[in-house]
């Protein structure tokens, strides 16, 4: 592959395109399963199996089931990795195969930027238990397992990406920040191609117990599939999920030079901070991020067809997010399709931005909008078209993906259909 960091095929600013998608989450262990579940509006939520949840208020989650990591890493090496890294490796393997990405001969022009929210919480909890219960030093392998940056380190080794590699940590916006950083580095000519995305394992028992003490998760234990219901009047909080998504993001010139299939363009990003409260959603920060994203991509509000909402299904998020969209898009808000795929795959925290970008790109590429499932009674304070329950066939040209995180970190990604 020729190295090409000096601009797009058209000689304008460097554009970045997505040429590979790997996804692992509760509704799909690969891209094809994920796509099928989005089209069919399937839920991935069920009773938690990672540990006994019977004493929790919330006993449901969106876990990845029946996934073996053996095809990706020898069994004896898996013990050196926390689940967050294993999920990332599974998603990356698919993305790389999907794109035909090969770093040979240009290793230093290829990088890795991943995101994680809560990091290797299982390894942390095991180490704590070893000290507190057994009064013994944890195994030394705890250190490489407990590194938040382990997923990016492992991906750089597996695929010989010798350019920049790091992890972004911004709670529920982590992987959206990762994609933004990869885009900015491609634009700046720092590298030509990135493995970028995010990963999050289901929280450790201890961490989930703490989440359970915070009244933000759905308690719909008697009907798990219906627990995640963003923008619905009966919503009662989010459903914890897990998963990973990895995108192969390349400069347009690089992708075209090697004749890669292109899912869409990452045309811009908007980043902002609420600077207000560590957990309470604000309207101003999301508005800023939406406006900055449009400006960065050189688009008008009327150019946007679809928004993959942050849409957690907490009572406050969905109202504040809807208001922010109305404020930025004005009259065009009524024409927008807005859905939250968290209704299906749950809230995957640090992987959410990347998984939802993947959902948006698959929509752009295949010409459909994934639905908000479990939508039965509209919230009177949420006035948009939330694409209820059924996927909608629609030739979308521009889709946004919102990620608004605890900590006040806001990221909006602009994804555009690639027409050459």
């Amino acid at each position: 592959m020729p190295s090409s960091s000096d601009g797009s095929a058209r000689g304008g600013p460097v554009r970045a395109v997505v040429t590979g998608l790997g996804v692992v989450c509760a509704i799909g262990r690969n891209q094809a399963e994920f796509l099928g579940a989005l089209r069919e509006g399937r839920s991935g939520t069920s009773r938690i199996t990672a540990y006994d949840p019977s004493w929790f208020n919330t006993q449901v989650g969106a876990e990845v089931r029946d996934l073996s990591f053996d095809p990706y890493l020898p069994v004896n090496e898996q013990r050196l990795l926390d689940r967050q890294s294993l999920l990332a490796i599974a998603a990356a393997a698919e993305a790389v195969a999907d794109s035909g990405f090969d770093t040979t001969g240009e290793e230093d022009r290829c990088g890795v930027v991943m995101g994680t929210g809560m990091g290797p919480s299982v390894a942390h909890s095991e180490a704590l238990a070893e000290v507190a219960v057994n009064h013994r030093k944890p195994r030394p392998t705890t250190i490489p397992k407990c590194m938040y940056n382990a997923p990016s380190g492992h991906l750089s080794m597996l695929y010989q990406c010798q350019g920049p590699s790091s992890m972004a940590v911004a709670a529920c916006a982590s992987s959206a920040v990762a994609l933004a950083q990869a885009l900015q580095m491609i634009r700046a000519g720092v590298a030509d191609a990135f493995l970028t995305g995010g990963t999050e394992s289901f929280p450790s028992y201890a961490l989930m117990a703490a989440w359970d003490a915070l009244p933000v998760m759905s308690k719909r234990n008697d009907a798990p599939e219906t627990a995640s219901r963003p923008f619905d009047q009966e919503r009662d909080g989010f459903v914890m999920g897990e998963g990973a998504a990895v995108l192969v993001l390349e400069s347009e010139a690089h992708a075209r030079a090697r004749g890669a299939r292109i899912y869409g363009e990452l045309a811009g990003v908007g980043l902002s901070s609420d600077a207000a409260h560590i957990t309470r959603p604000q309207q101003r920060g999301p508005e800023l991020a939406l406006a900055k994203a449009l400006a960065d991509a050189g688009l008008n509000a009327t150019d946007v067809d679809y928004i993959n909402a942050h849409g957690t299904a907490t009572p406050i998020n969905d109202v504040v997010e809807s208001r922010a969209i109305e404020a930025v898009f004005g009259p065009h808000a009524a024409k927008l399709m807005v859905s939250s795929t968290k209704s299906a795959h749950g809230h995957t925290i640090g992987a959410a931005g990347a998984i939802e970008a993947a959902a948006t790109l698959l929509g752009l590429h295949h010409g459909f909008v994934p639905p908000t499932i479990n939508f039965t009674a509209p919230d009177p304070e949420c006035h948009l078209d939330y694409v209820p329950n059924q996927a909608r066939e629609a030739p979308i040209r521009v889709g946004l993906s919102n990620s608004f995180a605890f900590g006040g970190h806001n990221v909006v990604l602009v994804l555009r259909r690639y027409d050459g």
């Binding site: 069994v75 004896n76 090496e77 030394p140 392998t141 490489p144």
Partner: protein, 83 residues
């Protein structure tokens, strides 16, 4: 002796090797065992035999072979049964 066989088995499983490849005279380097692996293997052995290997008992700068680990574990196990 069962203890020796068990140690060889633990090392083989840890590195994903056939147990016949793991013999006392083979070096860590030959088997691809780095210092992190060696410490982790000691933890496996501690769990299996219910012994406590003092942190300075196995000098990883000096211990070079599977036999060095076998000798140490044999000694510690004997001390435990004497106690």
């Amino acid at each position: 002796m069962d203890l020796v066989a068990d140690v060889l088995q633990i090392i083989a499983e840890y590195k994903g090797l056939d147990v016949t490849e793991v013999t006392p005279e083979r070096s860590f380097q030959e088997l691809g065992i780095d210092s992190l692996d060696a410490i982790d293997i000691i933890y496996e052995i501690e769990d299996r035999f219910g012994i406590d290997v003092p942190q300075d008992a196995l000098d990883l700068q000096k211990a070079k072979t599977v036999g060095d680990v076998v000798a140490l574990v044999t000694k510690l196990a004997a001390e435990r049964s004497d106690a």
